[in-house]
Symmetry: C2
Subunit: 128 residues, 2 copies
């Protein structure tokens, strides 16, 4: 399979691209993470989201420990070729490492960020 589609992406100086994961069905935006060329190619190959962890400096197979994998249904690229949007099935219904459904659980109310979404599962029981 040709890899020229990877060359069309405008990678950052660090060789990364921001990736938005949106849940199929609900349409909820679950998280934003980053991929490099290798992790995107692997994601397409395996049909599962494999990100690049900037903090750990290595491939991050989403759900590897937790089982909370993201099965890819659709992959989009934006007009500027520098942002990717994934439509995913979120295994276990938990995308966030805090044990919540998704990472966007803090809502701006007046001049405060308020946590408005519940913890579904204690992170201590998710990560052994």
């Amino acid at each position: 399979m040709s890899t020229s589609w990877l060359d069309e992406i405008k990678w950052t100086e660090d060789g990364l691209v921001p990736v938005i994961a949106q849940e199929a069905g609900s349409g909820q935006v679950l998280m934003l993470a980053w991929m490099n060329r290798e992790s995107l190619a692997l994601s397409v190959q395996e049909g599962k989201a494999i990100y690049w962890s900037r903090s750990r400096g290595k491939l991050w197979r989403k759900g590897e420990e937790s089982g909370h994998e993201q099965i890819i249904h659709d992959i989009r690229l934006d007009c500027d070729n520098d942002v990717i949007l994934l439509e995913v099935e979120q295994k276990g219904g938990i995308a966030c490492h805090t044990g919540r459904h998704r990472c966007f659980f803090k809502q701006l109310q007046g001049d405060q960020w308020v946590e408005v979404e519940p913890v579904i599962k204690d992170p201590d029981t998710i990560y052994k």
Copy 2:
């Protein structure tokens, strides 16, 4: 109004934060852009999306020329405090500068990016 909520955001070295704009109602992810401290404060103050244009190095009042403003309904921050999600009403139904509803109109099909969403309005008639 206190601005400590702005201090809670983990800005990049360049003082920016990525911002996802999602359409209220349809749930479609329209675009990803960037904000700095000033543009986010102004967005909250005016209730409309005001981004920071990295290419032009200045405030980008979305819809200023085109009329395609984004009215903010909800503002979320993620678990790591480094990504913002806006729920917006997209005026004119066009978020993308190509005249399409949204920026994510290229779909990966096999090893090719294919444009799968129509141009609603010729950009030449949007920007005078």
